[in-house]
């Protein structure tokens, strides 16, 4: 048995294995479907086993980390941009999430994409994505993160546009990349601002590095730059807000969220892996990784940067939940719920629940991946049907999928005892502490979450089947990953829960005793972990809200005893009709952005380009040509288009100018 040291220091193989697999498939192994699949799955399986060992090695011996290694990527004699590998607790957790979900999704893919002519290509993209995502996780500095950040983005582009012959998929892929590029541009400017302010401080240390034993990491350097006056608090806030655009685009936060629901045009395994569990969480991961950027210059919370994160997250969580209420496409409902949950994570980061937010990322990855895989099994079983109005009663035909979906639904709704409950509760408690109205909004959103998730569940699996396909359960290779994911969906929450805290639970609005929990002790910001006591009252209220959501969904969609849904949809009352339309049309963001591009930017570009290049410059050029020729009295030769005359005249002109300059020399 190799030592823990061994696992830490050979992390590079985990990152390179999927890249190598992808490369080999691209270079010709795609001809064999089986070899492509085995290579791709093998690489990530290796990564999964390795991450397990690594995780246990670190828990057994925390002194092994942080560990990092760096090499120069671009260098001049006084400036070095590095690429490297970093291992610490946060990395270990993320590695587990990425490799677990990736492995299960890749196994599932074998069943889901078996008939597709692009089977090998799909595995090549999956490998490329997994490698890039792992690279992003182990990045040692902001620049390297940016590097892999764009690579995961492009994999997302490839996979959304996987079925390139679908016009909608082509649109969605372009949109995803474009919106992400807007975020990346902000990210880049943020990096540049930080770098310009701190360039003299880094010295021989890793530039923009996250971790440094001597304090020359982001946090330490920002502090030093602030003390030396190079980085004012205002400038840091500006850099923080611009950098945040990157995570906002990647994690589909308001107002850059528009690409994620459309990204559902890609095959479902991708929706599960990239657009639910891993890549979209990269934004949250980046904020957590580079947390000092959003703090005050001397490293405290209460900064404007964090407030912005909170507001963005809260708007996103609420907005996405209201939109999810009225959608009918099974994958898009899940996509909106992803957007909403990512909003929760942002609120957690913004209000100081650092560990809670990462915890939610961790739990969400499992149950959301499972929910998406369930939706894939349903779509597969119904031969491509995605409209929940044409589903119903599927529990009879696909019981395994139905039960898995129920577990996921309970978990995301915050049912006590399931994983989603623990982490969401931490975030809601933190939000309540930050601002009571914010807390109320988060609790109301939790109510909406429970409602639309159970709406999805009831309309899909309960009552009678409304479609005309022949539903059937999927093969084991498809349902096995679901069942495997059901376990962490239930259990992963207990990692962040201390049984002792039940003893001191009070329901008078005050916190119980702060007791250590394993997750927060493992992943935290700063030198020592910070634990929150549990607030029984808030827990009670949010659970009640979720229960209300469930009951409403039950009444409307299971028993059919209440008809608010059809009442609202067909309401003639202007306000209600407007709100319904607003929700159905996703708050009209797409219309607005399209209008902006098609009616403002492109016409403006077209106009100004025509004006300047075509009319002004070319007219001037032609005029100069004519004038030159006129002075040379060779106008008649113009029709012959004889270059030497033009040239001769120009030459004479410039020769004259030269002599002139020589005569009147200064």
């Amino acid at each position: 048995m190799p030592s823990g040291q061994f696992f830490v220091e050979n992390i590079g193989y985990v990152v390179s294995a999927p890249f190598l697999a992808g490369l080999l498939i691209v270079l010709g192994l795609w001809r064999s479907k089986t070899i492509s699949m085995l290579l791709s799955v093998g690489a990530v399986a290796f990564g999964f086993v390795y991450s397990m060992f690594l995780f246990f090695a670190i828990t057994a011996n925390p002194k092994l980390v942080p560990w990092q290694i760096n090499v120069d990527w671009l260098a001049t004699s006084n400036f070095h941009l590095s690429m490297g590998l970093l291992v610490d607790n946060l990395v270990a957790v993320m590695l587990l999430v990425v490799t677990t979900v990736s492995l299960l999704v890749q196994i599932y893919t074998h069943g889901y994409m078996r008939e597709d002519p692009g089977y090998s290509r799909f595995y090549a993209y999956l490998s490329l994505f997994t490698g890039s995502m792992l690279g992003l996780v182990v990045s040692t500095n902001l620049f390297e993160t940016y590097f892999f950040w764009e690579l995961v983005g492009v994999c997302s582009y490839f996979l959304i546009g996987f079925w390139w012959y679908k016009a909608s998929a082509a649109e969605a892929a372009l949109k995803a990349f474009f919106v992400n590029r807007i975020g990346d541009c902000g990210f880049l400017i943020g990096i540049l601002l930080l770098l310009a302010a701190t360039k003299d401080i880094w010295g021989s240390h890793v530039v923009l590095g996250y971790v440094d034993p001597n304090g020359f990491d982001l946090g330490g350097v920002i502090q030093r730059a602030h003390q030396s006056g190079a980085l004012s608090a205002g400038l840091l806030t500006l850099a923080a807000c611009l950098t945040l655009l990157g995570p906002m685009a990647k994690s589909a936060q308001f107002p850059l969220h528009v690409w994620l629901p459309d990204a559902m045009e890609g095959p479902t395994p991708i929706s599960a892996l990239i657009h639910a569990a891993t890549m979209v969480a990269a934004g949250v991961y980046l904020v957590a990784r580079a947390y000092p950027i959003w703090l005050t210059p001397d490293g405290h919370t209460g900064s404007i940067g964090l407030a912005v994160i909170t507001v963005v997250g809260a708007i996103t969580a609420f907005m996405a939940a209201t939109i999810a209420l009225s959608q009918f496409d099974i994958k898009r409902i899940l996509a909106w719920s992803t957007v909403s949950q990512l909003g929760y994570m942002f609120v957690g980061l913004g209000t100081g629940a650092f560990s809670g937010s990462i915890f939610h990322l961790f739990n969400h990855a499992f149950f959301k991946a499972m929910l998406f895989l369930c939706s894939g099994a349903v779509i597969h079983g119904l031969h491509g049907e995605q409209d929940i109005r044409k589903m119903g009663g599927l529990k009879k035909y696909m019981p395994i999928t139905a039960y898995c979906c129920l577990v996921g639904t309970l978990s995301i709704s915050g049912c006590p005892g399931l994983s989603g409950f623990f982490s969401k509760d931490e975030i809601i408690a933190s939000a309540c502490k930050y601002n009571v109205w914010l807390g109320a909004l988060m609790i109301f959103t939790a109510f909406l979450t429970a409602f639309y998730m159970f709406r999805l569940y009831f309309m899909t699996f309960e009552n009678e089947y409304r479609g005309d396909a022949h539903p059937h359960e999927s093969p084991p290779v498809v349902w096995l990953p679901l069942v495997v994911l059901a376990f962490p969906s239930v259990l992963s929450g207990y990692l962040g829960f201390n049984w002792q805290s039940l003893n001191g639970l009070k329901f008078d609005g005050t916190e119980g005793a702060s007791l250590a929990n394993q997750f927060a002790a493992f992943v935290h910001f700063g030198q020592v972990p910070h634990f929150e006591g549990m607030n029984g009252l808030i827990m009670l209220i949010s659970t009640t809200a979720a229960l209300l959501g469930f009951c409403l969904a039950w009444a409307v969609y299971k028993t059919g005893s209440v008809h608010v849904n059809s009442d609202i949809a067909t309401s003639k009352q202007p306000l209600v009709a407007f709100l319904y339309d607003f929700s159905l049309n996703k708050w009209k963001f797409d219309e607005f952005y399209l209008w902006l591009v098609n009616e403002i930017f492109l016409p403006f570009f077209s106009f100004i380009w025509q004006l300047v290049d075509k009319y002004i410059i070319d007219t001037f050029v032609n005029f100069t040509g004519v004038a030159t020729l006129a002075t040379g009295s060779v106008v008649r030769l113009m029709q012959n288009g004889r270059g030497q005359y033009y040239a001769l005249v120009i030459f004479a002109w410039v020769a004259g100018l030269t002599i002139f300059a020589y005569i009147v020399r200064p």
């Binding site: 671009l74 400036f79 590097f147 764009e150 490839f158 990349f177 474009f178 590029r181 410059i617 270059g643």
Partner: protein, 514 residues
């Protein structure tokens, strides 16, 4: 002596294409292509050999050879040599010429003449990169006009004579400015030092000591010549026309190599000879660069012709070079040189791919093509996707390394804090970063409109995928783009000492640095 590698290798490399053009001209029409391929391979091999023998750590020129012809009335000599910057461009030249020759498969009219001209063209490009004498530099710089004019005017598209003429006029206009600059500079120097010559190494030493105004005037002559070639707003309108009409392989050379003559001249002469002027006016060069990046990217968004998009995108990408050279940062200068190489390869790949689509569809109009090409041309689709991503600066591909060095370098440079008392400096670079968004938009939109979507009935059954020859070219170019993108140090370590010494020279002239 003739076979002394250290001295004669560059001369051999330089005159190989001349020999080739003569041999091809005298050979049978049937053998023209084969001969051209053999000669290009030999040239490429020789340049790689020089690359391998080159010592990046040594300062100054290497493989130098000098022969004085006569000294009176003006000193005329043959002087060649390379440092890391020019050597990188020499290797790029032989590589792209080889690719262009391979891509000339479809040229069937008068192949003898065609390949002779291509070889003559590579003589002049190589001549520009290895010359260490200003007159010699000028001769090679102007020599390029002749083969290029004919290559466009004979083998070009329907509107070729207009395009060829526009190209000739613009470039000639620039060339004359340069000649003016050369004569002016010499006339000024000869008054200070009767032994003055056109030797570029000596000039780089002497010019900084001329009065500022004289430096400025001479600088202007050279600068105008080079930005026309680059090309830069507002002197760029010849480029789209020339590209659209030029045959595919010539577009590859035009974008891949000819534009680099301009950017090389900027680095070697404008920066190397006139550091004081760059210190005073570098900020405006930056501004021009940033404007180019965004302006051309914006123009790309509203074009209807796919080749015109790629052509204008060259203007945008060469804007990075301007941004990189104007800011007195060794990192940004390193990036500018990297951008020359990177853009050379990427644009050659893009123009080649545009050619493959044009050859099959016989139109360059995007709406006429109408999408869905991926159905029948999957392999070309993947190469297209690769090239588009390379062009928009995807990490892991060469464009990203160049852009990173230029953005990071310019934003942290000395110059950025002096532009309009530092108020405008950072906003200028930030403005340039908008290019990141616009480039992604026009490249991927182009890709979508050509390849994505349902197949149109018009093309069903009419198109064919890449031929082996096409795959060879696309693979070769792609591998270079990928290798440089993953290990930029492979290239930068070769020329970094050279860019640093140019930058040191400039920084040492900053007021207050003594």
């Amino acid at each position: 002596m003739l076979f002394n590698f250290g001295q004669m290798s560059l001369t051999w490399l330089l005159f190989l294409p001349l020999i080739a053009s003569l041999v091809i001209a005298l050979a049978n029409e049937k053998h023209a292509r084969k001969l051209a391929i053999v000669f290009s391979i030999v040239m490429f091999g020789l340049s790689l050999l020089i690359w391998q023998q080159f010592h990046p750590a040594l300062s100054g020129m290497q493989f130098e050879y000098k022969a004085i012809w006569f000294n009176s009335p003006i000193p005329v000599q043959y002087h060649v040599g390379v440092d890391g910057i020019s050597l990188a461009l020499v290797v790029l030249t032989t590589f792209i010429v080889l690719m262009a020759v391979l891509a000339s498969e479809t040229i069937t009219t008068r192949p003898k003449l065609y390949y002779s001209f291509v070889m003559l063209l590579s003589l002049s490009i190589l001549g520009v990169f290895v010359s260490l004498d200003l007159l010699q530099f000028f001769v090679f710089y102007e020599l390029e006009l002749v083969p290029m004019y004919f290559l466009i005017a004979i083998w070009g598209g329907p509107n070729r004579s207009y395009a060829a003429m526009k190209f000739l006029l613009y470039t000639f206009f620039g060339g004359v400015f340069m000649l003016g600059g050369i004569i002016y500079l010499y006339s000024q120097l000869i008054m200070l030092d009767p032994g003055a010559s056109f030797d570029m190494i000596a000039l780089a030493r002497q010019c900084p000591y001329l009065p500022k105004l004289i430096q400025g005037i001479a600088f202007l002559g050279f600068f105008l010549a080079f930005v026309i070639k680059l090309p830069s707003f507002p002197l760029h309108t010849w480029l789209p026309d020339a590209h659209v009409e030029a045959p595919t392989p010539i577009s590859m050379i035009l974008a891949g190599l000819l534009l680099k003559m301009g950017s090389y001249g900027l680095v070697r002469i404008c920066l190397g000879f006139f550091p004081n002027t760059v210190i005073d006016y570098g900020k405006w060069i930056m501004l021009l660069g940033a404007f180019n990046i965004v302006w051309a990217a914006m123009a790309c968004l509203v074009q209807k012709d796919m080749k015109r998009i790629i052509a204008l995108s060259s203007v945008s990408h060469m804007g990075f070079v301007l941004l990189g050279i104007g800011c007195l940062s060794s990192l940004a200068l390193q990036g500018a040189v990297f951008q020359m190489i990177s853009h050379g390869v990427i644009s050659a790949l893009l123009f080649f791919l545009v050619g493959t689509v044009y050859e099959r569809c016989h139109t360059r109009d995007i709406t006429e093509i109408g999408g869905g090409l991926a159905k029948q041309m999957p392999v070309l689709f993947y190469f297209w996707m690769f090239a588009c991503l390379a062009n928009l600066g995807l990490p892991g591909l060469s464009g990203f390394a160049a852009e990173t060095a230029i953005y990071y370098g310019s934003f942290t440079s000395i110059m950025v804090s002096t532009l309009v008392k530092g108020i405008l400096g950072k906003p200028v670079v930030i403005f340039a970063t908008f290019g990141v968004v616009l480039t992604a938009a026009y490249m991927l939109w182009l890709l979508k409109r050509l390849f994505f979507g349902p197949e149109t009935s018009r093309w069903a059954g009419h198109l064919s995928d890449a031929r082996p020859n096409e795959k060879l070219i696309a693979w070769s170019l792609s591998v270079v783009v990928l290798a440089l993108g993953i290990f930029p140090l492979l290239l930068t370590q070769q020329y970094n000492p050279a860019t640093e010494s140019i930058n040191r020279l400039m920084v040492s002239r900053l007021p207050g640095s003594h």
